[in-house]
């Protein structure tokens, strides 16, 4: 959803400019700005994005003992049907989609990275929303 709103946000901005009480000049400027926007700032349906797929969105971050975000940390989520593996990006975060029904009580989670030991993992279901979310945060310390 966050990617959806991020992409939708830039579209709403253009709409607000065009539809507000501002002058025609502003509306025209807004339209022109909207036309100049690079494609990634405009909402476009991307079926490969986790936010667009049916299922439960799992997301979270990995941190070291100092609270710094860690890249290249593997999150392993094991369900009765399959094993899902995600890796944190340059910002130390991951996000992905698990099939519908794979609520936290049915998923065993752990994280790891060579040279580190996992000290804690927090799994928190998100608020009730059209798309269910689960936040998984992992804490590791250097070996």
């Amino acid at each position: 959803m966050e990617a959806f709103y991020r992409r939708l946000g830039s579209g709403l901005c253009g709409l607000a400019l065009a539809g507000g009480s501002s002058s025609a000049f502003l509306a025209l400027t807004g339209r022109a700005e909207a036309q100049k926007q690079p494609p990634q700032q405009t909402y476009m349906y991307d079926p490969s994005a986790a936010d667009e797929q049916p299922g439960i969105k799992y997301f979270g971050a990995a941190k070291d003992a100092n609270g710094a975000l860690l890249k290249d940390v593997t999150f392993q989520l094991v369900t009765p049907q399959s094993t899902f593996v995600f890796v944190t990006d340059e910002q130390g975060r991951f996000r992905g989609n698990l099939p519908l029904g794979m609520t936290p009580d049915k998923v065993s989670s752990k994280c790891f990275k060579a040279g580190f030991l996992m000290t804690r993992i927090d799994v928190r279901p998100g608020p009730k929303a059209p798309k269910l979310t689960v936040q998984v945060d992992c804490f590791l310390k250097a070996n």
Binding site: D72, T74, Q76, V78, T83, D89, R95, A114
Partner: protein
């Protein structure tokens, strides 16, 4: 083992013709006739089939005479095969690795599978057939879907032109090894890794070995961490136990542009691949177009390569590190029957082990040939994996109007727009 006299004579004749055919060349010369391979299939003698498969493997991976490098090192990589341009120059073998699939943060985070770096190599006969018939292009597949030769097995389906008998394709699977320290490598033991509903990917395997680039030979055991688990008394092995290569900067950079390779490096090393790291060959699936359904062999590395059924019949023509690989083979989707009484099983722990049970058994109860028989265009999911006879009446892979892609998923899935 043999129920009659005719069978050993046949096997001897076939073996003799095979050995005669394996002259010193960079290409496997499949001099055994299609009829004889078909006899091997019909007789369903697993040991005879294994002897044949080992001989072909020996030719592909070890070569003959004094050649040190395997023949497949000079084969065409998938990047060169499935490419619109005929002008681009590609290095041969894994060194030509190049994929356009982005390893950007979004892609990397959202792929959910246990990553294994694979790269498929095609010998000249397979490469030329795909390129000459434009089978790398969806435009050509669309045309063949309408104008191709009618398939004589699946009603309402058409076929791509048949591959020549000399065509050989090798799907290789690689594992990253740090140039410093000891890297863990999971080992698949058949008796300790039973079939699982959720699949049996390498993160679930019960044992690891430590690969030590500094060790000249197997040496004292070590303790290792892998995938959040601690392993004690880990068997330490040297690089020379494997077929391997060392990465230069250029190849390391190209590998890290690929989402799967990037993710595997993170899982194994906790960092991207760098110049000086190694790739070891942990598995390979070999397909030879010796019969219309191809002959399928799965190879994987093991630290106890002399033990068990998968070591049976290995010939002395296999040398050095190649003797450390185990093997399964499939000539048929059904025969010879598996130990559980069901259709024949042939899979690679590295490539198919992770597939979950979708109703026909998981990856460790699948059959290469049975799954590849479903390869068709427009493509369908290759999951769930299966074994036994095809079920055209309730499988979208056999819907009328499909183009059979000669048992090759690569054509169905990787043809360019």
């Amino acid at each position: 083992m043999y129920r009659g006299v005719a069978r050993p004579i046949l096997v001897l004749l076939i073996s003799a013709s095979v050995i005669r055919g394996y002259a010193q060349t960079s290409e496997p010369r499949l001099h055994i006739t299609e009829a004889n391979v078909e006899l091997l299939r019909q007789r369903a003698d697993l040991h005879a089939q294994r002897r044949h498969a080992w001989q072909v493997i020996a030719e592909v991976v070890d070569g003959a005479g004094d050649r040190v490098e395997p023949g497949f090192k000079s084969w065409h990589g998938e990047s060169e095969v499935f490419n619109d341009s005929s002008n681009t120059q590609y290095a041969r073998g894994i060194r030509g690795f190049s994929r356009t699939r982005s390893a950007g943060p979004g892609t990397l985070a959202q792929t959910a599978d246990s990553p294994v770096l694979t790269y498929t190599l095609y010998n000249d006969a397979a490469f030329n057939h795909i390129r000459d018939n434009h089978l790398y292009s969806r435009r050509a597949l669309e045309r063949l879907k309408i104008q191709g030769i009618p398939d004589d097995r699946v009603p309402g389906n058409r076929d791509i032109p048949q591959f020549p008998r000399e065509a050989v394709i090798l799907k290789t699977a690689w594992w990253p090894i740090s140039r410093h320290g000891i890297s863990a490598l999971p080992v698949w033991d058949s008796d300790e890794n039973s079939s699982r509903q959720a699949g049996a990917g390498y993160l679930s395997w019960q044992r690891v070995v430590g690969v030590d680039p500094q060790a000249a030979a197997a040496s004292s055991p070590v303790s290792l961490e892998f995938a959040g688990r601690s392993f004690q008394d880990v068997h330490r092995v040297s690089l020379s136990s494997f077929y391997y290569l060392q990465l230069d900067q250029d190849l390391a950079v190209r590998l890290m542009l690929d989402a799967t390779a990037r993710k595997q490096a993170a899982v194994v090393l906790g960092r991207p691949l760098q110049e000086g790291d190694y790739l070891i060959l942990v598995g390979a699936n070999l397909a030879t177009r010796e019969t219309r359904d191809w002959v399928w062999a799965a190879l994987w590395w093991h630290d106890r390569p002399e033990a068990g059924l998968y070591a049976d019949d290995r010939p002395f023509t296999l040398k050095s590190a190649w003797r450390n690989y185990l093997m399964q083979v499939a000539f048929d989707a059904i025969t010879p029957v598996a130990n559980d009484g069901g259709p024949h099983i042939c899979f690679n722990p590295w490539l198919e082990g992770r597939f979950p049970d979708g109703g026909h058994g998981g990856g460790t109860a699948s059959n290469c040939l049975a799954c590849h028989a479903r390869a068709s265009y427009p493509p369908v999911s290759f999951l769930p994996v299966t074994r036994g006879t095809a079920q055209p009446s309730n499988d979208e892979a056999y819907l009328p109007g499909k183009l059979r892609t000669g048992f090759l998923w690569s054509i169905a899935l990787h043809a360019t727009p």
